[in-house]
Subunit: 246 residues, 4 copies
């Protein structure tokens, strides 16, 4: 049952809102009003007039609830990354930089433990805040600082994800802290960055894959099924490879 | 360390092989030979000549290791589905039909418990075999038979995924066994099927989304970065919605 | 040389403007001013500060110069259509409805003669105005009225293009006025319309093709090459077929 | 009416054949036979059993009739290029290298005169043969040799298209022979080539655009409308710009 303080996703036709259930609160869309006190004690999935009220999924939280001061890792990419890293509840995962914490939230939902590093204090605070606001991140160790300076044992991580402008200076250290055979992923917006990365992977990492994920949404009118007029044309190129034994 | 009986992914330039480590076995590619007895006791990530040897990821297992007698749910779709369903280790999930078990394997890696139904005995045996062959599926209850005839309590599942030719006759029962607010997803290859589904969701389910996922792979030559010449043009349309309280 | 009254395309970084050279006119972008009297007598291709001045291409005219009261046929689609119709300077082509005249302009540039029909007087005037404003359309016969009521000889056209909401009621007449073997194309936004059309083509038309064209633009910064963040996700499905001899 | 020696496109369900009408010839598909002597004197568009017989379009000729020893410029790209170059019956166009002649055929259908250069004698002969075999190319001047060595007046061409591995060494000469404001296009398969080109355009050329064209074909079964399983994932990046006055 929905109770005071719960986060809810409210849909009204094509619109979506993420709100916290404050009994004095309400949502106004066009001429309709949804009073939050009427939701408390109701099950999620309740429909009140044109309003549909659900508990938010992880995707809803990231897209609508996370404060952003950087480009976030989109759920379409984050979900794919999380699986490609081959992690499960027994895995210890490294990611840097933390950014707004979107990928961190996804990794945290799959892995046993996540280590994350961020050099910009503002982003470090933001990501911590984003996860704690939605009750996530108990298994995340947030670090303020450059991964390059972290003191970590060899072969400490099962998988690594790198989301920094220039990953090349970090490759040797990533190689050292990753278990042999472990997967490392990279998120890079430009083709030039991907080329430069691939040039520098040789010998240390193998099994390279470079790909991009495009999602095409459709209007959901059954008698007029057609893709949306505009779509996200690019978020980033994803590169995956695996540590070779030197 | 790799040991006898382990599954390994072997990469040789662009080629990939999934093999079980039988000490008397070997892999021949072009003029090169990899003897499996030389791998036993080595860490994964070892490179022997042009051969790179890793433990397989879930994606490797599904794409290279699962026997197929039906169109499988591709990992690109399965990973996205698993997250959209909003499940975790505490969730009980329903899926039907089982098919070759690809989605079942992905759901099983995320959820607490998976119930799966398949009417064709050949597929039922195939899926069971695919999961057990790779040590997966302990939390999966395989059922031979039509979900329509299953006896299940109301509001029993946290999420449902439907992969049958015509989901419409199942909608009322899906609605009954799903918790209010729970996500239900559908995989349908044709636009006509999606239209028909959307027409029939009304009132029972809300928050509809229809989408397709396209993955574009790149050749990994750094000085000649470019997409692959051909790509998968279509697997299926994915539809997601959530149970409304009737 | 550019002269008074000429249309010019002006580029200023990523921005584009289509303007007529009125000697008293000017263009202000940010803090920069381009005075049109300074352009007169200059060759096209002149660069004045950050302003680049060219004669517009047909694509520039359609995208920036045509007034629209309907969804236009995008140049990416129009160029492909024009070639698929297999027309040249010796061809007589039919299209309806005229809409804003974008496809009409493209067909007119390739064909000998274009007949176009439009039932809405406002669009009929708009399209005529759009073409004449840019000195095009001498070989176009604009008709106000429904093609269904036009009196035309049998086998009169080499090719036909149909851009109406429901083409099915027109198929028999299209078949009658088109030369045997001639190509007919259709522009339809929804999958449902395409299904309905395909059902009704049988016997009269053969060699069906259905396709959609996606254009992905890149940012043109050489050291940061990457696709644009957003792209046009859908304009329409294009269907082509050819008249069979009944 | 079809006559001896005519080229025809023959469709049989999803298959397509381009054949010349030799009265003694025939086409066998599965258990069906089409005798060419039965077609002579018939109009195009005739249907004989499951065979549909049409005159080929330019696209049919390029895709099915042109011999290839190089990667051809696909019609989807060629049609778009031809329009972007802004040419008409009054235009003189340059292209190099000729390759198999696919773009040359398309340009020749739109422009007044086409100059084409090819350094490989085998390709030069091939392209000439491809066009003449289908009665095209009267307005094309084929040259065996490097465009870099051609003696041509300044501002001689209205538009230029460049399809060579490294266009950079040719840019100054292209600039010299192109009219101010004229469009120049480039076809390049890799992102690295595009970056390098863009770096070198500066000052000489303006109004840059980089794009790629994706075509998605659908199966034409009305009750099962869906995209084809596989699609062409990449042909080339297209770059367009216009000559600035130096």
């Amino acid at each position: 049952m929905l109770k005071e303080g719960d986060w809810v996703l409210i849909r009204y036709e094509e619109k979506r809102y993420l709100r916290r259930l404050d009994p004095s609160g309400s949502l106004n869309v066009r001429k309709d009003v949804l009073k939050f006190k009427d939701l408390i004690g109701k099950p999620e999935g309740v429909k009140v007039g044109k309003f549909e009220v659900f508990r938010p999924t992880l995707e809803d939280i990231i897209l609508l609830g996370f404060s952003r001061k950087t480009q976030i890792v989109y759920p379409k990419d984050a979900f794919y990354i999380a699986f490609k890293l081959g992690i499960d509840k027994g895995s210890r995962v490294l990611e840097f930089g933390t950014g707004s914490g979107a990928l961190c939230a996804v990794l945290s939902s799959l892995a046993g433990e996540v280590y994350t590093y961020e050099v910009v204090e503002e982003f470090y605070e933001l990501a911590k805040g984003n996860l704690s606001k939605f009750g996530m991140g108990e298994n995340v160790r947030f670090h303020l600082g450059d991964f390059a300076e972290a003191e970590l044992p060899e072969e400490f991580f099962d998988a690594v994800f790198v989301d920094v402008k220039d990953p090349v200076p970090y490759l040797q250290k990533v190689h050292r802290v990753l278990k042999t055979g472990g997967v490392v992923g990279f998120l890079l917006p430009t083709a030039n960055q991907v080329s430069r990365l691939l040039e520098n992977l040789r010998d240390m990492f193998g099994g390279e894959e470079v790909l991009e994920i495009l999602i095409r949404y459709y209007k959901t009118v059954p008698e007029r099924l057609r893709p949306e007029d505009t779509m996200v044309g690019h978020t980033a190129y994803l590169t995956f490879c695996r540590k070779l034994r030197s």
